[in-house]
């Protein structure tokens, strides 16, 4: 199968019951500045809204922010929903303070393993700057 043509478009939002919207907002500003089309969904976003928005703007990637600690649980199942919606190959990133247990948050290889297992392409610590996020996605899309 052919790799789809990147069209510089991303969906950004904070998942589940999570009200922390600042990180996602800062990301959306950076992606806009870098010339991306951004569907910015704000906070407290259910999984299905991410998928719908991705379809709507024909997104290259969904960037899920999760700060409040239940990121691991909230992200389970998103890849399956994408597949059902025909977005099998869409890039899924997660980022923030994704884990409630401090022992897990400080054991990053374990977090990466867990996110890989539930179908995410990458997961980012909350020390990741908006610029780094943009650069990484560009590299993964093979653009610029």
């Amino acid at each position: 199968m052919e790799k789809r043509q990147a069209n510089k478009s991303v969906v950004i939002g904070t998942i589940g019951g999570d009200a922390h919207m600042i990180g996602a907002w800062v990301l959306s500003k950076a992606f806009e500045k870098a010339g991306f089309k951004v569907a910015y969904l704000g906070a407290v976003v259910p999984q299905k809204d991410f998928v719908n928005a991705a379809i709507e703007i024909d997104a290259d990637a969904i960037l899920v922010s999760s700060m409040y600690g239940m990121g691991i649980m909230d992200c389970e199942g998103l890849r399956e929903k994408c597949i059902e919606a025909g977005l099998k190959d869409i890039i899924l990133y997660a980022g923030g303070t994704v884990a409630a247990p401090l022992e897990l948050e400080k054991n990053w290889p374990e977090i990466e393993k867990r996110f890989e297992k539930i179908g995410f392409n990458r997961v980012f610590k909350n020390t990741c700057t908006a610029d780094e996020a943009v650069e990484t996605l560009k590299a993964d899309l093979g653009i610029e």
């Binding site: 904070t14 019951g17 999570d18 600042i22 704000g42 239940m70 303070t97 247990p101 401090l102 948050e105």
Partner: protein
């Protein structure tokens, strides 16, 4: 728009109707607390000598500080372990009180998910929730925590509907809770309209009123952290309005907890203005015998992800409280950037803050022209918004608040809540005080605007550049981004 809300005390009939039809049936643990009289009697018994409201009031009277660490974990055993550890390792008793927080699933009323989080925590042998699921555990478990703690307890359950949580913890002898509808909406909500939210919050306040009238004084957190980045006048406004709403329901104590912006003079001025206005407006509306305990909540913006920088934050925020003459020192800890506070982190913070109190003795921010000017501006701004609010509500603060939000007189910058205009924008000045970059529709008086412009100019002079929206964005992280070692810069 019209709003179906007034700042009027719920009648007993209304209260008990809501209680029996809406609140207790929310989850099975509601059954165990059906008898309110019995709840109050037990709470009274359990909090002999460790009532949250009375402890705060006592320290206020003595001019001493109270340390308020925070803690929340998925399982009761983790809670008890953590509380005991901190109390034993920080000498917080008898000058400390606890804020315990519930998890977000519980706060959003999704008790099933909270229950799943409990199971998951047991399975994984780790804390998988960001707080203690009050409702799933119910009153007996909550009482275990009360008994284990030497210090008084308060619940942070900030979100739309905390009524069942409040019922449970009050019955367990936790004598503080959230009563901050504005804070809640701005920080935790997405869609609920203010009038609907106020209706819910009246219940919590009335419940506190009933406990208070029956010998168990309740002192809710009256928080104004808002989105973390807000003008001091907006915080003062928030505190005053929330006091008036609670007082109507019979609340007599208020922990007037300011979100700190981290400019010492500005934060001190804010605390003073708020206390003055709380007294004045309560008097004006006829609320008698109110006790306000002024507190500071450490900067609720992004924290640095490294120990020493976090210690700098803990110290500076506590010092603003101490020097600013605030009674309550709410504490964050070195884990802030990573996860909810560990017991070790919280013990460290209490020790650090306590030693600052020892070192400082009676040192306070001295009275000065600079301080008085800042007070003047904050007061002028807060009054402007308050008075427009009261006018718009035809003397009713609840109705006025709904209209103030609709009009954008009350506004905030980075809120998930869809009902604020989000037009106001903040930026820091050369002294890192919070200033308006964009006034939105907030009715800031001319003199205050001029002062604001002057302050922005000082920063522009310092950096040798015009301030742009980019600074608004980068200021959000001014306290969290670690310096890149210079030799590696180009």
């Amino acid at each position: 728009m019209t709003f179906a809300i007034r700042n009027e005390r719920l009648t007993d009939e209304e209260f008990f109707k809501i209680r029996n039809e809406e609140v207790l049936p929310q989850w099975e643990t509601g059954k165990a607390i059906a008898n309110l009289e019995e709840n109050i009697a037990i709470a009274k018994e359990l909090t002999q000598g460790k009532n949250y409201a009375l402890t705060l009031a006592e320290h206020k009277k003595n001019g001493t500080n109270v340390f308020e660490p925070q803690f929340g974990r998925a399982l009761t055993e983790y809670m008890i372990e953590g509380i005991t550890y901190v109390e034993e390792n920080s000498d917080m008793y008898p000058d400390g009180v606890w804020t315990l927080f519930s998890d977000t699933y519980t706060r959003k009323g999704d008790f099933k998910k909270a229950a799943a989080g409990i199971e998951r925590s047991k399975q994984e042998g780790m804390n998988m929730l960001n707080g203690w699921p009050v409702v799933c555990f119910g009153v007996e478990e909550a009482r275990k925590i009360t008994k284990a703690a030497k210090c008084p307890l308060n619940l942070n359950s900030a979100d739309e509907d905390a009524r069942l949580q409040t019922e449970i913890v009050f019955a367990a002898g936790w004598n503080g809770g959230n009563n901050n509808p504005i804070m809640t909406a701005v920080a935790h909500s997405k869609n609920i309209p203010m009038d609907k939210l106020l209706k819910i919050k009246q219940y919590d306040a009335r419940l506190g009123g009933i406990y208070t009238e029956n010998g168990v004084p309740i002192c809710p957190h009256n928080a104004s952290n808002l989105s973390g980045y807000d003008a001091p006048a907006m915080r003062s406004y928030t505190n005053v309005v929330q006091v008036l709403l609670a007082a109507e329901q019979g609340i007599k104590y208020s922990h007037v907890m300011h979100g700190l912006g981290m400019n010492m003079i500005q934060d001190t001025a804010m605390g003073r203005v708020t206390e003055k206005l709380c007294n004045e407006y309560c008097e004006r509306f006829g609320y008698k015998d109110m006790t306000f305990i002024i507190g500071g909540y450490p900067f609720l913006g992004a924290w640095p992800p490294r120990l020493e920088e976090a210690h700098a934050m803990i110290a500076w925020n506590a010092l603003i409280d101490i020097m600013g003459g605030f009674t309550n020192i709410v504490l964050k800890c070195e884990d802030e950037a990573f996860g909810t506070p560990s017991k070790e982190g919280m013990a460290h913070s209490v020790r650090l803050a306590r030693h600052l109190v020892t070192l400082l003795g009676d040192q306070k921010v001295a009275d000065s022209d600079r301080l008085r000017l800042e007070e003047k501006m904050i007061e002028m701004e807060a009054r402007a918004i308050l008075d427009k609010t009261i006018e718009a509500g035809d003397g009713d603060i609840a109705l006025g608040l709904c209209k103030a939000i609709e009009a954008g007189w009350f506004d905030t910058m980075v809120s998930p809540w869809s009902h604020v205009k989000g037009k106001v924008e903040y930026i820091r000045d050369a002294e890192n005080a919070v200033r308006y970059f964009n006034y939105g529709n907030v009715p800031i008086p001319k003199e205050a605007r001029e002062y604001n412009e002057e302050k922005l100019k000082e920063r522009e002079k310092k950096i040798g550049k015009k301030l742009t929206f980019d600074y608004v964005v980068s200021d959000l992280q001014y306290a969290s981004i670690l310096p890149v070692p210079k030799p590696f810069k180009k």
